[in-house]
Amino acid sequence: MDTSTHQPVQQSVAERLDPHTATTPLGDWVRELCDAPDGGNLLSMTINVIIIIIAICAFSSLTAMVLVWMERKLAGRFQRRLGPTRTGPFGLLQTAADGLKLFLKEGFRPNASDPFTYYLAPLLPLTGAFMVLAVIPFGPSMWIADPELGLIFISAIAGLGVLALLIGSWGSNNKYSLMGGLRAGAQAISYEVSLILCFLLIVLASGETNLLNIVEGQQGNFWNWWIIKLPGAGFIAFIFFIITSTAELNRTPFDTTEAESELTGGFHTEYSGIAFSMFFLAEYVHMFIAAAIGATLFLGGYNAPFEFLPDGWWWLMAKSYAIIFLYIWFRWTFPRLRIDQLMALEWKFLLPLSLINLVFAGILIAMGWIL
């Protein structure tokens, strides 16, 4: 295996956390560009931060564009349609056209709504998405921040996504919005429990909360991934992760929050123009993030499935997009759950089984019965 690509991982956590010694290709280049005798000055740090911010913005908008196109195209194919074909080759520019339309639309606020909460809500989901994107290890030397408690950080930030829906739904002063917001709150709080239990299983198995170390612990062939390495428990946890993350993303079959047929769009009923496009963009960035976390925790992150293949960001992308395909597949196959069925699924089924699965995994690890 090429050891040079894993050079930064050999460093201690303290060294990695130090922005002056963390080696990323771009960071090295910037440091060389404005060479400072003490190994890093304020200018190079500032440039680095600006580059990071631009990179995250560009990456998330590009991801959202690709995902929207992919969803529309796949939705068409699932329903014996063609999907977008007119705008650009294979309709690739459809999302750009839609985005342009949304940006040019009039921003309209209902008269009786509360301006502070109404305008605060669309800003929040993308903020959370950017914060989570910063800690995902994309490649052996491709990450922005690598906190020691990365997994706890992700679960903490992921829990904030629902705030935007609650605030925005209340601020719109619309009964459908409020209903959607209340549903979103109940759903997110409930399913977060199972989601964190899935994370806990990985922490239990790998003994790490640092995402990079979790990924490095799954090096080698594909049977070293936690989904297979923990016989049975890993696969069950992966299925639970997929279910709970679908619920956290408010996607069909758990889209009671939006529920076009009942709530006419739920929390974003009153939003239009650029505010709506913020929600829309964040929804798809969140989808990518959920898939990337699933790939990192269960499918070996950026590790290649076989030892002789080179590791790199392309594997994380491939795995993430496979999970995203699963989400899209779910959406266009399953009907929506009723809200009481949704709650019953979580509290009566997923939560007890997650706990049992956690105990089962603990027994497996204590006995050493892992591959």
């Binding site: 509360d114 408690l149 706890i152 903490a156 904030l160 705030l163 209340l182």
Partner: protein, 186 residues
């Protein structure tokens, strides 16, 4: 984290955020706005904890306080108020007593606080790792926290069950004696 100019600036920024949001949280008329202000205050506190090298507490602050408690509060606000709900002003007497009590407590605490003599950071100190916290929590010896940990677990479970029981919606058909008396008293 070493005390440098940067940390000083950050500390005062966070302090300003905490105090500003805290003041907003207790004075703003709109209940949801004060919940959002509380959220900002808790975020500032989390940042302060990061400055003070307590990453785990900072993340727990975000995870449990903001992600759990504040969302609960906002949920309760959504359930019990709506836009246009009347603001209930307190009487002047209450304002006076509130300000007086707050001033007395502040004066007392600020009188005691400067007597804390040890203000220098121990140069050998290391940040508490999550492993150390876990081992201490499950340590059964006199130095450990096993019994409080178990007690708090039971408390959380019972609180959860109790909350679910209290908030359980009474079916319209179901007759409950307490329901009847409670209804007549109001």
């Amino acid at each position: 984290m070493e005390a440098t100019l940067t940390t000083d600036i950050l500390f005062y920024l966070f302090s300003a955020a905490i105090l500003g949001c805290g003041l907003m949280a207790v004075t703003v008329k709109n209940l949801l706005h004060s919940a959002i202000a509380l959220m900002g205050c808790l975020f500032g506190t989390a940042g302060l904890f990061l400055l003070l090298d307590h990453e785990f507490v900072a993340l727990m602050q975000i995870l449990v306080y903001i992600g759990g408690v504040v969302i609960f509060i906002i949920y309760a606000v959504l359930l019990t108020t709506h836009l246009g709900t009347r603001y209930l002003p307190a009487s002047t007497l209450k304002y006076i007593s509130g300000v007086t009590l707050a001033a007395i407590v502040l004066g007392l605490v600020l009188h005691i606080d400067p007597q804390a003599t040890h203000t220098a950071v121990n140069p050998d100190r290391t940040a508490t790792t999550i492993d150390a916290i876990g081992y201490r929590l499950l340590d059964g010896s006199t130095n450990g926290f096993l019994i409080p940990f178990e007690v708090i677990s039971v408390l959380l479970l019972s609180a959860m069950i109790g909350a679910a029981t209290i908030a359980k919606h009474q079916k319209p058909g179901a007759t409950n004696d307490e329901d009847e008396t409670g209804g007549s008293a109001s």
